[in-house]
Amino acid sequence: MQDIRETVFEVLRAVLPIILVITIFKIALLRVPPSDLLLFLLGSGMVILGIALFLSGVKAGLLPVGEAIGSELPARGSLLLVVAGSFLFGFLTIVAEPNLRVLTEMLDAVPGAGIPSGPLLLAIAVSVGFVITVAVLRIIFGFPLAYLFVVGYGAILLLAPFSSPEFLAVAVDAGGITTGLLTIPIILALGTGVSAVLAGRSALTDGFGLIGLASIAPILGVMVMGLVYA
């Protein structure tokens, strides 16, 4: 509990500035009624408490769990476990990401969008699973991360002219959507966990980059899906 109290103070310092500025705007510029201001302040209190609990929980639960899984993957010396484990980890994390459901529901709501949401979800999850696997293999075999990004962005630029405008727009949005607030610590910890147990790899140099890759993978996945459908 001591920890949580400290975290609350830290979060207060983080969030108070923007709350103050908005409050001043609401009073001076917008002249909102008191009930509106009260709702804002209550909501802000909820945000402060929420971030404090979230950060404490991430440090005590999510990061250690992700790291435990990450450090166990290469420890068995079985490449099959690494590949199957990383793929499933990425795939399942993305299938469950709530943001993605918002995207597919929006697509279903647009009549005649021509993009079926089931295959779309599958394309996004498979591409993230694939990229997470490649990223974990990269940490183990140690080729430079920058190559992956250059290849990834290069492929996006190559495919973009061939994609239909609808698929292109959905693809770019899908990239931003897959990395939600819960997915970030989980995937972050997987990378640092894998690199922490390997000799000659540092968590700092090799452990990061998975989230960045996880947000370009869906762009490629959706573009490829668009080509297949066309």
Binding site: A14, P17, M46, F54
Partner: protein, 243 residues
């Protein structure tokens, strides 16, 4: 009436959070039974942490939805009515900085960087670098809305610059840089800053709220990559002088 507005939709938020956590819990349980075999007390503590994180996430998302989302739009519409439109640019800088300074995912990344580097790269350094980067991208986004600059004019040089900086930066910073782009587009940016931009776009004649407002997220995802890569160049320089 306030209570009803306050809690509207919280059950959906809770359901989403539980659903997002489910795969991790299942995955961990399988690993725990087959391989990890961690002591029971430790596992109970982890479970408490996960529970805490989910509860916090529900409160945070609900709070952002009822407090910050409407505030962003109201303020955006109000400031778009200013006579001196250029004021939107410093204004965007200011709010972009503050929103990222409050973004929880940015702190998670900063914490993990400080831990992984054993304190060599401080959490606060990552925090300020990202906050400044988002501040610059929001002020660019505002400039775009005021003067009608096409989004691609900013995005294409931006990504070309990423490639150039990749050649010169310290390799320790590459992964962090690309992660930063995704981390900065967290709930604060997507709800508050996006609704701010949509509000401004709605208030300026000839701007389409959907098309012009949404380009902001692309800018917010790009700027932190650039700023962390530049940080890597600075680090490489100072280290080069030492050795």
């Amino acid at each position: 009436m306030i209570a009803a507005a306050f809690l509207a939709g919280i059950d959906l938020v809770a359901l989403e959070v539980v659903q997002a956590l489910l795969p991790l819990v299942i995955f961990f349980s399988v690993f725990q039974v087959l391989y990890l075999k961690l002591p029971r007390v430790y596992v109970v503590n982890l479970a408490k942490g996960i529970l805490l994180a989910s509860l916090g996430m529900v409160l945070f998302l609900q709070g952002v939805n009822v407090a910050f989302l409407p505030a962003g739009r109201e303020i955006g519409e109000a400031v778009a009515a200013f006579d001196q439109r250029w004021l939107l640019i410093p204004f965007g800088f200011f709010l972009g900085f503050l929103a990222t300074y409050a973004e929880p995912a940015v702190r998670v990344l900063g914490y993990q960087v400080e831990e992984s580097s054993s304190g060599y790269i401080k959490e606060s350094l990552i925090l300020y670098t990202l906050s400044l980067a988002v501040a610059v991208s929001v002020s660019l986004g505002m400039a775009r809305l005021v003067y009608g600059i096409p989004l691609l004019w900013l995005l294409i040089p931006g990504y070309l610059l990423v490639i150039v900086l990749l050649l010169f930066t310290d390799k320790e910073f590459v992964g962090i840089a690309f992660d930063s782009g995704s981390v900065a587009t967290g709930p604060m940016a997507v709800t508050f800053l996006l609704s701010l931009a949509v509000g401004v776009a709605a208030g300026i004649e000839g701007r389409n709220p959907v098309v012009d407002g949404f380009g902001l997220i692309a800018l917010i995802a790009l700027a932190p990559i650039l700023s962390v890569l530049m940080l890597g160049i600075l680090y490489r320089r100072t280290r080069g002088e030492e050795t």
